[in-house]
Symmetry: C2
Subunit: 307 residues, 2 copies
């Protein structure tokens, strides 16, 4: 079994993570978080979201974040843009990459953004067109790729349909989100099999939640199928919006730990990720949620006591 | 890729788990824990350890535990017996299965039990012989199968040597312990490849620690190699003796969740495991450590609020 030699990680902590935290973090902290992630070797950092601050007050400082981050060569700072208005604001703020999203579950689409899957995709078409006209890259997200909080299991073909539509609109990559963490190596592999028939595997990313502790196993299964891009959130920022107290996004340090163990290159320094996880968790007044951060910090504390 | 259709889980929580908890749990609680695990469908529950109470005060009530558990047909209650004296006490207490252990790392063997690997194995030989004479089954443990806290990575051949020696002594099964959780799907697969050359895969069990969150991925990799027995600890009891605050034994509920997802039969009810994890964690004055218990309990709490 040949695994990819290199993997790209997209840290979604500053957006997907902080958006789902109850506490609103200062712009200064966000800018520092993004800078620290680039220092640790991340080459893709989801910076913010251009949505209405009425809906998502956590991202109300989107333009300011974009203005204040020191953009580094070789690092992408994608932002989420749910509609044309958001895209125009993102463009004005200097975004060079945007992300759009569609659900693979009708009920989720209805309850989350109040329209059908087909309607939501049509809403993104002008965003994608405007982005292409402006030379801005577009990344697509599909949510509920393994299961939906309202419907339960989601058919792999449904995921493949949405992913293929997003590619047709001109997305350079589609990120497959296991929004409620109901994925396991079996249903994730079946889902990928269906999607790979419609979208080249080089254009796919895995975005897995660790709610039930399955994310590392799901990434391993996805690596075996050739997927070489993964979304993750430093410190497991964000938690699970569907179950308070449960884990959400897989922690970036857990993913890098796995990839290091497998001898797969990421260019990311896991010790620095643990520093960032400890720092940002401290800002939020708690311990880091990830196994790797906890274990590495415990080992460091022990070494410090012995020293 | 053909995964096993059925998997046997050995819950090591009442012994390996509680032995590594600072708090000493009452005999009554231990007996209840063992009964509840059998109720949930476990068919192998490591009940206690026959070691000196000076070394391991947590297991000082070993004979009482054995006297008080209601033994059910079809359920095995193995106990750890490090030497002949321990074996005799176990036999007197009515144990029908015992376990012996060897390390795959010389430094670990020296620091942990103050003798070489070869000496430790020779020490178990009379235990194995006495067990066979008494019609008592013997299970073998190998520790440090992926890495050692003192030496770092451990050679797969070293693990294979110790596993083969334990089989030669008459163990019916050898459990391969990733004592410090440094395993990942790559080094665990390499280790298994070496061991399977010397010991039939049907005689192997995986005993993986979740210190760095890799246990589910390691089990998935091991299932792909045909290993169909796994040790786990309900609620992740025990933690990591090498790093306070870090995770140790993989939680039984996380393993059963994974296996359910893969369509592999275990005969174990994951909801009841979550109940047990919540209860025993409460006895120890904390929240359950496992992702599955936390997510399931969070979902139940949400349903209760909505209801």
């Amino acid at each position: 079994m040949q695994l990819p030699q290199k993997v790209r990680i997209v840290d979604v902590g500053p957006r997907d993570g902080l958006q789902n935290e109850k506490q609103i973090v200062s712009t200064e902290t966000k800018v520092e978080l993004i800078a620290r992630l680039a220092d640790a070797g991340l080459t893709a950092i989801e910076a913010t979201s251009f949505v209405s601050p009425k809906w998502v007050p956590q991202m109300g400082d989107n333009a300011e974040v974009m203005a204040r981050i020191a953009r580094r060569p070789g690092v992408a700072y994608p932002v989420l843009t749910p509609n044309l208005k958001g895209f125009e604001a993102a463009l004005a703020a200097g975004a060079a990459e945007v992300a759009v999203f569609g659900a693979a579950s009708e009920s989720f689409s209805q309850k989350n953004i109040n329209c059908s899957i087909a309607e939501s995709l049509e809403r993104f078409r002008p965003v994608a067109e405007a982005a292409h006209a402006a030379g801005v890259k577009v990344r697509g997200y599909v949510s509920c790729v393994a299961g939906c909080p309202y419907e339960g299991p989601v058919a792999p073909e449904k995921v493949a349909d949405v992913a293929a539509t997003l590619m047709d609109m001109g997305c350079y990559e589609v990120s497959l989100g296991d929004t409620i963490g109901s994925g396991n190596p079996a249903n994730i592999s079946r889902m990928l099999e269906a999607v790979i028939k419609r979208v080249p595997v080089e254009r796919l990313a895995g975005h897995y939640h660790d709610t039930y502790g399955m994310a590392a196993a799901n990434i391993y299964a996805s690596l075996q199928m050739g997927v070489a891009v993964y979304d993750a959130s430093v410190g497991g920022l964000g938690g699970c919006p569907y179950a308070a107290g449960a884990s959400g996004n897989v922690a970036t340090e857990d993913v890098v730990w796995l990839l290091n163990g497998l001898g797969i290159e990421t260019g990311i320094d896991v010790e620095r990720l643990v520093d960032i996880a400890a720092w940002i968790s401290g800002v939020l007044g708690r311990e880091p949620a990830s196994r790797v951060a906890r274990a590495v910090l415990a080992k460091r504390a022990k070494a410090a006591c012995a020293g």
